[in-house]
């Protein structure tokens, strides 16, 4: 199984600005500290091995869209944030005019999780089958609504693909084209659902837009059971802990620190920080990642947890 991140930002897409790029270049030159490079390859090697991630990369700007690539003719993808546009381009290129079958799993229907669907190329291709799975009653309504006049020029009825809506039951394991999926209710305005995917002996958790009330041991244990022994946990780590439980308490999101604690309880293998705050720049996000890694080191028992931060384009092979 391969996990491919097409969109990792929360709330609203962001893009690098001219001044962001200029700052990265200036900081890279300062870190080079007068060194000279005889070739592009030498300079590239320096940039790859010695500069901070936040100088040579960007965490990216698309809102949530995460693909699970299996050894299958069908596609599996979580949420239709703005990352659905490049995901759709990828599907079209890979299919080479053959119609695709795409299985979508919706955590919830807040705008940042559906806004990419009108730009999903395969939705316009006759012969394509799109199955939209989720636990909410309002999914079809939300998808149709965002393509209703005057918000968008192409209505849902004009799409070429055959589109089906499939209701899932929380805490029940469903089999979707060979992939086992179990939804779990999460604390978020209007509710959200996390998904546990099981395939080929590997477990992937997609748990975004989920706030955790820390004093509630029952809730924490329920999530630890849901995350139990996962190979990858994609986790809503929108804020630092102090922010998540003070000014942004009850906003429906969590923190890097709580992600580490829950994954340690669950003995998960790899935590991936996700749904990045749009106000945070690359350096701030890299700082939150380093802090989460240090917290994991400080609190590690007999089980080591790998910690990463998702970025648009990240691929994790299992």
């Amino acid at each position: 199984m391969r996990v491919r991140f097409w969109g990792t930002r929360g709330s609203i897409p962001v893009a690098l600005t001219t001044s962001d790029i200029r700052d990265k270049l200036a900081l890279a030159l300062v870190q080079a500290s007068g060194r000279t490079f005889k070739s592009y390859e030498e300079a590239h090697a320096f940039a790859s091995s010695e500069l901070d991630f936040s100088l040579t990369h960007t965490f990216g700007g698309h809102t949530p869209c995460v693909e699970l690539e299996l050894d299958s003719d069908e596609y599996f993808v979580c949420d239709m944030g703005s990352g659905a546009r490049p995901f759709g381009q990828h599907v079209l290129a890979k299919q080479a005019r053959r119609p695709a079958t795409i299985n979508i799993f919706m955590s919830h229907v807040h705008w940042d999780h559906i806004m990419g669907f009108p730009f999903l190329g395969p939705a316009y291709v006759p012969g394509t089958t799109i199955r939209i799975h989720g636990c909410h009653d309002v999914i079809e309504h939300a998808f149709r609504l965002q393509q209703s006049p005057p918000c968008f020029p192409v209505t849902f009825e004009q799409l070429g693909a055959k589109i089906e809506f499939v209701k899932l039951t929380p805490d029940k394991t469903h089999e979707v084209a060979g992939l086992k999926v179990t939804p779990h209710l999460q604390l978020h305005g209007g509710d959200s659902y996390g998904f546990r995917f099981d395939h080929g002996g590997k477990k992937v958790i997609y748990s975004t837009d989920s706030e955790h009330k820390l004093e509630n041991r029952t809730e924490a244990e329920a999530f630890a059971n849901f995350f139990r022994d996962a190979d990858v946990v994609i986790f809503d780590a929108m804020y630092a802990l102090a922010e998540a439980i003070s000014v942004k308490a009850d906003w429906g999101h969590s923190s890097n620190i709580v992600g580490v604690e829950l994954c340690q309880m669950a003995r998960a293998k790899h935590l991936v920080l996700f749904h990045h705050e749009p106000a945070n720049n690359d350096a701030t996000l890299e700082g939150l990642l380093k802090e989460a890694r240090r917290f994991e080191e400080l609190t590690r028992g007999d089980h080591a947890l790998k910690v990463s931060a998702a970025y648009d384009g990240l691929e994790i092979d299992l």
Binding site: L214, E215, R217, A220, A240, L241, A242, E243, I245, S246, S255, I257, V258, E261, E291, A292, R294, F295, L298, T299
Partner: protein
């Protein structure tokens, strides 16, 4: 976890010893809120003496945050002092050092409360 308190003029030092986590935070929260209520009533301040605190989890940090919120609502003050290296690092990692005034020693925290609290502290 063990909690003890001591008054120094208009400051109450609250010493927290042991581990503050999901197992202990509920009881601690009740005790801490009692101190905050009392300090607000007296117009004084709370100084959290964390010199004997070995570990604090997110659940424990949330107790501090709730106490801070309640103190602010009642025009009270909470200071934090004498963190052990690991707890100090957890404060920094979780950005709690941006929310609380953290002092290296209890003496410095008392001086920040008032000259009377500092004097009472020096006298022991």
């Amino acid at each position: 976890m063990n909690v003890t308190s001591r008054r120094f003029a208009n400051a109450v030092s609250v010493q927290v010893a042991g581990r503050l986590d999901q197992d202990t935070c509920e009881a601690f929260r009740g005790q801490l809120m009692g101190f905050v209520e009392g300090a607000a009533h007296d117009g004084g301040a709370i100084v959290l003496d964390l010199s004997q605190l070995e570990y604090v989890s997110s659940a424990g940090l949330r107790c501090f945050m709730l106490a801070s919120r309640q103190a602010k609502a009642q025009h009270g003050r909470i200071f934090v002092a004498a963190l052990q290296p690991m707890v100090r690092e957890i404060f920094e990692i979780s950005h709690f050092n941006l929310v609380f005034q953290v002092f290296p020693t209890l003496r410095e925290a008392m001086a920040a409360v008032s000259s009377e609290a500092a004097l009472a502290f020096e006298k022991g």
